[in-house]
Symmetry: C2
Subunit: 441 residues, 2 copies
Amino acid sequence: MQQSFITSACSPTTPFPLNNLPYGIFSRNSTVDSTPAVCVAIGDHVLDLSSLSSLFPQIFTGPHLPAPTAHSVFSTPSLNAFLALGKPAWLEARAALQDALSISPQRCPDLKNATAEQHAELLPLHQHVTMHLPAEIRDYTDFYSSKQHATNVGTMFRGPENALPPNWLHMPIAYHGRASSVVKSGTAIRRPCGQLRPDPASPPSFGPCRLLDFELEMAALIGGPANQLGDRVRVEHAGDRVFGFTLMNDWSARDIQKWEYVPLGPFGAKNFATTISPWVVTLEALEPFRKPPQEQVPQILDYLKAGPDVRGHCTYDIHLEVLLQTEAKETPSKICTSNFCNLYWTVAQQLAHHSVTGCNMQPGDLVASGTISGTESSSFGSMLELSWKGSKKIELVNSKAAEKRTFLQDGDTVYLRGEAKGDGFVVGFGECSGQILPAFG
Amino acid sequence: MQQSFITSACSPTTPFPLNNLPYGIFSRNSTVDSTPAVCVAIGDHVLDLSSLSSLFPQIFTGPHLPAPTAHSVFSTPSLNAFLALGKPAWLEARAALQDALSISPQRCPDLKNATAEQHAELLPLHQHVTMHLPAEIRDYTDFYSSKQHATNVGTMFRGPENALPPNWLHMPIAYHGRASSVVKSGTAIRRPCGQLRPDPASPPSFGPCRLLDFELEMAALIGGPANQLGDRVRVEHAGDRVFGFTLMNDWSARDIQKWEYVPLGPFGAKNFATTISPWVVTLEALEPFRKPPQEQVPQILDYLKAGPDVRGHCTYDIHLEVLLQTEAKETPSKICTSNFCNLYWTVAQQLAHHSVTGCNMQPGDLVASGTISGTESSSFGSMLELSWKGSKKIELVNSKAAEKRTFLQDGDTVYLRGEAKGDGFVVGFGECSGQILPAFG
Ligand SMILES: [Ca+2]
Ligand SMILES: [Ca+2]
Ligand SMILES: [Mg+2]
Ligand SMILES: [Mg+2]
Ligand code: NI
């Protein structure tokens, strides 16, 4: 664990030690009309990078992120301007902040030596700030990169012999999603209404979704200068375009999806809401948790092949959990335990494939993993899989009312949590949650 | 025809009479660093609305678009701010501009009476300006609303008995597309590379698309305040969210599409480029060309039903053409003649369906019609249909070289054109074109 002069950042259980330093957008609860700006999380505090770069410009000395640039990109209500600068600036910012926050700064002790008043101003507590969506999402894409998830869904809908679509092992398949409805953690989710056709022998009807679900995912936030339209991002450079990851819940209306999705893919069943966590954990913070990708058989095409050291061509040992809190319960019940390592395609491969036809990838794009299911039934990342299409009840432990679920009910709150465990420290993602509101009548 | 003091706007053949007044974003070729701003087309000229609202603020007097607001929204490099104001402001702008440009202004003669120098400044010729993308596209959605197109594609790929997907007559089906690759007319289109699997018995290969196609479409540009996430836009109000229409070419890589699209829909086969025309023709300009929607059988669900007077619940008599110019030819050959009336679902129904699950529709969203094919084979809106999957050659008339085509070749330029024919006048859309560049090696 890297030691910080901020005591709470040195706890072995804080999700935000100096090793992490995830980025987010915050505003102060105390100040009327506090303009959102960029911060990093450090222990129990957030560090206000807009004020920091104004008060101590000497912290930002590098060629890619000189102080005026730092102050300009950190004083906006989204990460987009910082994302656009690209990897050299991200690395400089991390080095500068890790030094300034360390217990013995080598380059710039000014933050450590600041007055108590300055500390209070620069380092508000988490409970005194409100977190916002970390970026203005440009385009949002959802991959389908867990082999077990694709196998589960395929088995349920097409039978075990045709479980994986024929293209699945040859390319990371994906669909374009709806960017406008990507919302921050804590946003209440209205149960959608739409067309349902539970009985194919009867005409479709209109009404509230009855099979409302979550999907446990993680999403990469893309940065760096956009590739020109017509050019592609090669797999060996794709990782340079990945700033970091958030948790993501791709809320899904299974009954609406079933009736609408052939032949153009999911649409209204997905576009009503997608929740992401407020903190973007950088690829640098995840590097210690890097693992080799899953073995890919059959042989993949050259444009998807990369060496073992290519940035982002890997998986990460990130523990993931889903908890469900019903209105009758005081504490949430864990209903799924999974891991980012359950993804078959790497983020470098996803970006290489996404752009291979010439699609321009822009700062602020959100590229999601797809539902992350493992092989154990307790690791399935959706209620569709956990309840096996509603055929078995999911037990909610520690529920006084001995409640069970197949799909989500009104009032239920879903929490996604993620953390990577280092030697004596934890790299956490914060929370990704949302409560289901009843459908409009 | 409404008479303007601008002579060229009174020609019976100009696409831009006073009846039209389409909006676009222009910059001056003469001025170094001319900042793009909002204009309308009028005859051979464009009217600079940024300068107009500064020089003659008295033209903009209404409660929804007072002069300072007008100047602010017209001095930005996209229509988004104007779109966000909504229909009351759009109607005021149209009334003010139609008066100011008329041959006998009733409310404000100042533009007509301006000096020659002022006219030259405010009304540059089309050839002295460069047109830009009319809006910063937020989310882009592509519907599939021509019954004949869906039937043609279904017949080719699934046989005549299962031509239309089971959901097709019950809802306007659609997929989310890629917003970042929506480009302005004239942008060269790089032939995409990607995964192909022409022979299902052999493994997929990587290479340039061999079945490159256009799709003749029109796209609605959305405005008005965004509906809250979780709310829907009802069919009777949906038309208030439609600012106007552009022509759109949804470039498509048929071989890439065929291998990738099951089960998540088209992805890389579409996300490399989508071209729209520079001029947005407003719903008001199209009102004289309004026609009742096609009969919809079987009965549709209530949320899609609307009365005959509902804005946007209609079709429009807009003649559409596709022309193909090869490198060997001097003039383009017409290869398709279609009409907007070939759409089965109305734009009001498309928006009602798009938002029915609670999707928030934002100013700057682009909502495309899908390929507009009629019943005649000469009206099919893609080469896939015109060549019937490549099984018959498309003759290029007036070609010295007696050229034929099944799909697009490098160097080919595709032009989409659209016009509505009034009594002694024409409402035109300008051009939507793009030339195919060879794939990168
Ligand atoms: Ca998903
Ligand atoms: Ca299309
Ligand atoms: Mg979603
Ligand atoms: Mg397209
Ligand atoms: Ni503290």
